[in-house]
Amino acid sequence: MRDFVTGLAFVIAGVATIITAQQFPTLPSLQYGPSLFPSIVGAGFCIGGAVLAANALWNRKRAVVQQGVVEVTTLGEPTSGRAGLAMLLPPVAILFYIFASDYIGAMLTMTVIMFVLMILRKTVPWVALVASLLVALAIYFIFSRYLLVPLPQGVLIEGRLPWIF
């Protein structure tokens, strides 16, 4: 059943790709314009998605014929709600970095992210604090000082940590 939904999603993505590609400009001197390859990909999404969805339906139908019942468990692995949400922790942490690093600086943001993630997985608090501080300092030092990557220093605390920077 999952495959059916995924297949449909690909068909929708394919249609959207084709519609977007039709808006690309064409040049009269070229037989094949910039819309050719995206359109082929869009068409491929539609065909592949349709085949995937059709296969899923076919397998389900066959299972019904053979067993007489449809097992509800085919909907997906039995994952608990909390585990399902926990998988969102890394993306949320990255979003936090994107929005917070400009204000409180890359180093502090990384420390917060690492500390929170470690605590959530039941690390001893002082170990989490020391580890996240040391690693954040090391990453900041390597990238900012050695590789000269302009990591955000943070407008709120800029210049207030002279003993580190």
Binding site: Y32, P38, V41, G48, L89, T123, S132
Partner: protein, 498 residues
Amino acid sequence: MDILMNGISLVLNVETLLVILLASLFGIFVGAVPGLTATMAVALLVPLTFYMDTIPAIAAIVTTSAMAIFAGDIPGTYLNIPGTPASAAYVGESHALAKKGRAREALGINLVCSVFGGIFGTIILIVVAQSLAEVALQFSAFEYFWLAVLGLSCSIFISVGSRVKAFLSLLFGILLSTVGLDMMSGAPRFTFGVPDLMAGINFIPVMIGMFALNELMSYYGSRSEKKNINVIDNDSVFHKVPSHIKRYWRNMVRGSSIGTLIGALPGAGADIAAWISYGVGKGRSKEKEKYGTGNIEGVMDASSANNSGISGAWVPALVFGIPGDSITAIVIGVLYMKGMNPGPTIFMDGSGLIYALFIVFILANLMMLPIGYIAIRLSKLFILTPSRILMPVILCFCVVGAFAINNSIVDVWLMLIVGLVAYLLAVNDFPMAPAILGLVLGSVVENNFMSAMLRTGGDLTSFFARPISAGLGIAVILLWCSPLLIKAWRQRPRHSAA
């Protein structure tokens, strides 16, 4: 001779040797921690290689990948959890050996086979790549178009699992490759008004998203892990190696040959090489019944194959610019970043770069012996590294690494979005390797198609006008028809019998 000396001097300097040593330790560590793959190790390494010279950068990647593929056997043996997917094929055998108290013996033979496989693959690379490059010099847009299409097709037909899913995964990669200004008309495609996307999608953040963020999400989505080692390992690492080699040397050679060949096919990497080699070894063994109960023979076939696959993947990458697996796909990106175009001309320049590369390969594989030995002795240290501390650290490396390529926060967004899509695809059993190949080869296909069409005024038959081009075209068509042909072949005897 001068070129060879140049090559040697490019490798034998303090900076490169130090990089090789550090990369070895990094590779062993990443490989030995379950859940971190060799591809992930390389993807995380790339932001750092960005700031190195070409040879140290490549040395870092070669060494890390070779070490990680070997080290993947360590948790496989002790915990029955493969450290990298390339160890999955024979994890049952090596863990069964460990339960009999032969953990170190199994890892010792793994190590020797890995070194042998790696060097075997390198020798093939040295011999074949040079002569292939001379042929490739005559290639034009027509041949490169077909070659890239062949590479993309291979990634679908050789993948494990559903071909439809591999096909869709490939298209996802190709779609990403079309983002940016169009080569012919200069029209922006799928840029959504973001100036950073005009130059196209930078594929390092995509790699980090696909291979690192995706893994991190699976880790946090899973229940907390408890790793208990209940294996006694008091045996010797190398004591029984000579007798095993004497008895099963054919398996090593066969595994390495299969590994190099599979590795050289685009889209099929070390993991598929190990599976196929294990299967072939089992089929030809005189003691089939021992397989699955801890048979050293199966371990030898497959662990030679995965390391030789790593070297084999470099053949098409260097000669044609067509990656053999996900790791060489990253390498091609790194070479472009360094202003080098992978292709036959790389063999013709007089700077000795290619010799330096070969020396790095041999050096990295030889280094594996002592470092691998120490790693085997310290196995428990690696395996018990707490993931709850390691994973947040990797997350921060991902963010800073993605940012460091262009110093742009857009790349961090890109990593996030691609990581989310990759996670959704991965939990639905879509393979990732075709997507990476699509991203790297999508623009090769399109650019060569467009320039060929510009040259011939849009005449599609010109793709079959040159002999090599026609041959490659027919190979592609045959490959596409292969499922039908195989089906027809299987049904043939039934008809004749009836």
